[in-house]
């Protein structure tokens, strides 16, 4: 499994209130949520983003609320992967559970700039910066989480396994 797209870079502590402000939480429709994604931190994000693009951020991405609307909005906006130094734990769980690929890689975050062309191989954890010609080794998911991601989310995983 691979993803390819341009990078949109952000700083530390991008919180769920800026990813999807609470004023839009009266909706559960992914497309509607996507239309307001990142609105309070980057007004033009949704106009600029193309299918396959990636979000690259520093520490503690997705901190704050447990709203699954945040990874849902990001995924529905067309983002193929979020790369960060670290993720807030509920956001991390939610992303895996809904099948939004995410990866921790401080080295990649340090070097990647806005609009760099990035390629991510989820099986190996290799992040390739095509613009700069550099390569970084991201943290591949533990096997248990890979199973959930391969099943495209927790719901399918549960349907396929003996959890029930």
């Amino acid at each position: 499994m691979k993803a390819e797209g341009r990078a949109f870079t952000y700083g530390n502590n991008v919180d769920t209130d800026v990813i999807i402000p609470a004023r839009y939480l009266n909706s559960t429709d992914p497309r509607e949520l996507a239309s307001h994604c990142m609105e309070d931190i980057d007004k033009e994000f949704i106009q600029k983003v193309k299918k396959g693009d990636m979000i690259v951020a520093k520490k503690n991405f997705g901190c704050g609320s447990s709203r699954e609307h945040a990874p849902i909005a990001i995924k529905a906006a067309g983002i193929s992967c979020v790369i960060a130094e670290t993720f807030a734990r509920i956001f991390y769980r939610n992303s895996i559970n809904i099948g939004l690929p995410i990866m921790e890689c401080p080295e990649a975050v340090k070097e990647i700039e806005d609009y760099d062309e990035i390629e991510v191989d989820f099986d190996s954890g290799i992040i390739y910066n095509k613009t700069k010609g550099t390569q970084y080794e991201g943290q591949a998911f533990p096997p248990f989480m890979q199973k959930i991601i391969k099943a495209e989310g927790l719901v399918n995983y549960i349907n396929q396994t003996s959890l029930l």
Binding site: D40, I41, E68, A88
Partner: protein, 422 residues
Amino acid sequence: MGMTMTQKILAKSAGLEEVEAGQLIESNLDLVLGNDITAPVAIKEMEKMNVKGVFHKDKIALVPDHFVPNKDIKSAENCKSVREFALKNEITHYFEVGEMGIEHALLPEKGLIGPGDVIIGADSHTCTYGALGAFSTGVGSTDMAAGMATGKAWFKVPTAIKFHLTGKPGKWISGKDIILHIIGAIGVDGALYRSMEFTGDGIPYLSMDDRFTIANMAIEAGGKNGIFPVDERTISYMTQHSKKPYKIYEADEDALYEEEYSIDLSSLRPTIAFPHLPENTKTIDEIPEDIPIDQVVIGSCTNGRLEDLRTAAKVMEGKKVKKGLRCIIFPATQSIYLQAMEEGLLKTFIEAGAVVSTPTCGPCLGGYMGVLAAGERCVSTTNRNFVGRMGHVDSEVYLASPAVAAASAVTGKIAGPDEISK
């Protein structure tokens, strides 16, 4: 090797003698919680699963509290979906407007949480119940759906940070000042993925309401959970509120902690988190100049309990809210509301010129009932002050204790309670 309190509870929930940090386990859940924002998404996800119904109708709590009474048509539709699901699945602990409250104040009050329990909730402040010596943590809607369907959740056993609380806190120092001080010291990701284990001879001085406030904001330091040892106060709270059987767990003496902090509660001062992160803390003595404000909010899952309202009323008694400032007070549950009425606290607030709202999460997350305009400043007893949290992207939220919030309402600027109640 010894285990922390959190690790012991998790081991029990997974049917294991022992667990160690980093281990992936599957836990049996004592309670699964959702609200009117997160449950509608969970209900949709659960419909995709090959299940007939919920795993246990007594072990699920559904509390519409964020945008109720319904703030608009879409919110009404969300609440309707939760209500219909609750009726169809005969959910015992579904709380309609009129009997509800803010979920994290309501569930302990209703006796649904006990020491040693394992709880997941599709709300980040689910960590509140650590005050009672339970393991509780926030999850998203899909985890909630899986929890409702299977009664199980997977966890990675966390490493821990120990907070050794010593000494007796000063007159106006509350749980809020303590947790803001801690977040200021370790940062908003200082406890990322880890459990925050509170201990020390200062704990007996902390009321249950103080402990709820502290555990509630563990998430604002990135923590997986925050947990207090069970003592006489906890047991007395349980006796008053619950008939549930429970089990007390204690950390092993040789448990491993990645970090340890010692905090002398007697040295703390009223503490305020400046925009736009809970870690941007200053004590009341460090504020260089007058900071005029437009709104004060007192309430929420963090600080909407009876003791919070009593403190605010003590500061505001016989005073007036500064002309031109809006002061919004929202008791966290119907029972707290009633008790505050009987004690005359609501009279004090209303006579001071504050408005008293029905229990709701509304203003805390900029939903409704107190949204800020561009350029406005609010002192709030809530838990987050992110960009745009309470309204316009150019508004500001200052997090503080009920005592500071009440004093600020009277003076129209950020102020400590000593400034007005001499």
